[in-house]
């Protein structure tokens, strides 16, 4: 099969969508398919057998003043770039929409030399996709979770009127609702995400396929011979992403009996604003360490040096950090929100589940697991076993191929 994957950000370090594209592309190639990836910056890494087509983008939304490229000084005055520039200055996030239009132009060009059997988008859903559907190739899209959840969890935090205005403008919910209802099939990564997509965008449940993400257990594994730091916990995620629920973990730290120390693996200093203030307020100075962006091998080592991973999320469409920690045989304390129970499994067997937004329950969980090293060890081993059995990229790719065939056959009948 000749498959074209689309991703407006393709690098695995830019979040779950980059990881998804990298592994899915790799596994589809292993299964003998020809895979092309049309991606925006940051671009995906070169992989054996994966053909990457790069789509440029000026990233006007994140660049304040330094947006002129010396070798292309007039690029901003091109119509699509100028639209992106003006929209970004008004606080709108135009990258998704402009990527979809650029992807349409790129695909039009590629289809002259390649006959794709299917086009598979990854969480973009821009208006340009309505044009891509006119190209005569079956077109499906993966939604990891609907952005309505990001918006509502963001609103849980007190903020100024201006910030709230910016957040409402930021999320392209109307566009994603319109486009998602016009796709041949929506793929999502958990049953909970399927339910939320139906609730938020009104996509028919029969048109949604659930295919779990995988976890690379050859990269994420327990490093032998590494000594655990006493009373240590780890949180992996963007602390400014309100749905990650870091504030409840910090509050929990002020309630535990044990003097726990927390390592936060986050995106780096520019992505921290409110959390350091809360650390001061709760008197946790000296007990919290930020690592910023780190390479994977250091992250794995950190997992191996730590006693417990905590993921206090208010929502996760899948929850990669939970699966990563589980693959490293680390007991995970997480919430019953979103897809986390689907990923983590049974309470007290493969993980420790608490209600979302419940700091005392998190504190109780930390104290309980620190008091019981034997349970920690059994839970960690069972967690890795669960990951090995259920969450592999190979089975994700095989299920995708079956779904592609189904869609192509149905498309052929029209």
């Amino acid at each position: 099969m000749k498959i074209c994957l689309l991703s407006y950000r393709g690098n695995p370090y830019c979040g779950g969508q980059g990881i998804y594209v990298m592994y899915i592309a790799k596994e589809l190639v292993k299964l003998g398919h020809e895979v092309h990836v049309v991606a925006g910056p940051p671009y995906p890494f070169e992989e054996n057998g994966v053909i990457i087509h790069r789509i440029s983008n000026h990233n006007y939304f994140n660049k304040g003043t330094n947006f002129i490229k010396p070798h292309k000084p007039f690029a901003t005055l091109q119509p699509l770039n100028l639209y992106e520039f003006i929209a970004a200055k008004f606080g709108i996030f135009p990258e998704i929409e402009t990527f979809s239009i650029r992807a349409f132009l790129k695909l039009k060009e590629l289809l002259k030399t390649h006959r794709f059997d299917i086009i598979h988008d990854n969480q973009c859903l821009g208006y340009g996709f309505l044009l891509i559907q006119r190209l005569g190739v079956p077109f499906v899209s993966t939604i990891h979770h609907p952005l309505t959840i990001d918006r509502s969890t963001w609103f849980e935090h007190p903020s100024t009127f201006n910030l709230k205005m910016k957040r409402i403008l930021y999320y392209p919910l109307l566009m994603q609702k319109i486009v998602s209802n016009r796709m041949y099939r929506i793929i999502t990564v958990s049953h909970n995400a399927a339910f939320e997509i139906n609730k938020a965008f009104g996509v028919d449940q029969d048109n949604i396929s659930v295919i779990y993400n995988g976890m690379d257990s050859t990269i994420f594994y327990p490093v032998k011979g590494v000594k655990k730091k006493k009373n240590s916990i780890i949180f992996v995620g963007n602390v400014e992403d309100r749905k990650k629920g870091i504030i409840y973990l910090l509050k929990a730290m002020s309630l535990t009996r044990h003097p726990v120390t927390l390592t936060i693996v986050d995106g780096g200093a520019p992505n921290r604003s409110s959390v350091p203030r809360l650390i001061d307020k709760l008197g946790l100075n000296g007990r919290v360490t930020f690592t910023g962006k780190i390479p994977i091998d250091r992250l794995i080592r950190l997992y191996s040096q730590t006693e417990i991973a905590v993921l206090p999320s208010l929502y996760e469409g899948f929850g990669f950090p939970a699966a990563e920690a589980m693959a490293c045989e680390l007991p995970v304390i997480t919430t019953t929100a979103g897809a986390l129970p689907e990923v983590v499994g049974e309470h007290m067997k493969t993980g420790y589940l608490v209600p979302p937004r419940d700091a005392p329950a998190i504190a109780q969980g930390i104290d309980f697991l620190l008091d019981h090293p034997d349970i920690r060890s059994t839970m960690g081993k069972a967690a890795r076993q669960r990951v090995l059995e259920i969450f592999t990229w190979e089975s994700a790719a095989r299920e995708l191929v079956n779904m592609y065939r189904e869609v192509i056959n149905a498309y052929g009948r029209f």
């Binding site: 330094n66 002129i68 003006i86 918006r151 609103f155 409402i168």
Partner: protein, 157 residues
């Protein structure tokens, strides 16, 4: 002077001149005409008037509608109350959102009323606003071209 920088200066100068002309022609020159020479849009053919008024009012209604939608979302969104430890300031955003809704509703009604009676300002203000936003963006880009390093860093060469 490098060529891009010359074009940057040209962009800045031309947008400044155009912005000045838009403002002068729409507000100063025509205001006098309205007052003293009696320019009346009712005398214009309906087709000509609506050919300009419809796209302009559609864009304006979209912008005003977005403002209303923002206010309405802030007013009506249902979320879990924040954790007491982080709620240190009083949140006045609902009150502001109410006034934003009220303001945009009044503005929208005024615009549609203005269009319906073929008022000059109902066309002039949105036209000037749209023109100035586009000219402002080009001006901004021009300034950025002028002030950006014109040589490539070593690794880009």
């Amino acid at each position: 002077m490098p060529r891009p920088r010359i074009f940057g200066y040209l962009a800045v100068l031309s947008t400044l001149i155009l912005a000045g002309l838009v403002t002068y022609s729409l507000y100063l020159l025509t205001a006098e005409n309205i007052e003293y020479s009696g320019t009346d849009l009712n005398k214009i053919n309906n087709f000509t008037f609506y050919a300009v008024a419809l796209p302009l009012s559609l864009v304006s209604v979209m912008v005003i509608g977005t403002g209303f939608w923002i206010g309405w979302t802030i007013l009506t969104i249902k979320v879990v109350p924040p954790m007491p430890d982080i709620a240190d300031k009083k949140d006045y955003s609902k009150i502001k959102a109410f006034f934003l809704c009220l303001f945009t509703l009044c503005l929208g009604a005024l615009l549609l009323y203005g269009i319906s009676i073929k008022n000059f300002w109902a066309l002039a203000i949105p036209a000037a606003a749209i023109s100035l936003v586009i000219l402002g963006a080009i001006f901004w880009v021009g300034i950025a071209i002028i002030t950006t390093r014109s040589t490539l860093p070593e690794e880009k060469k």
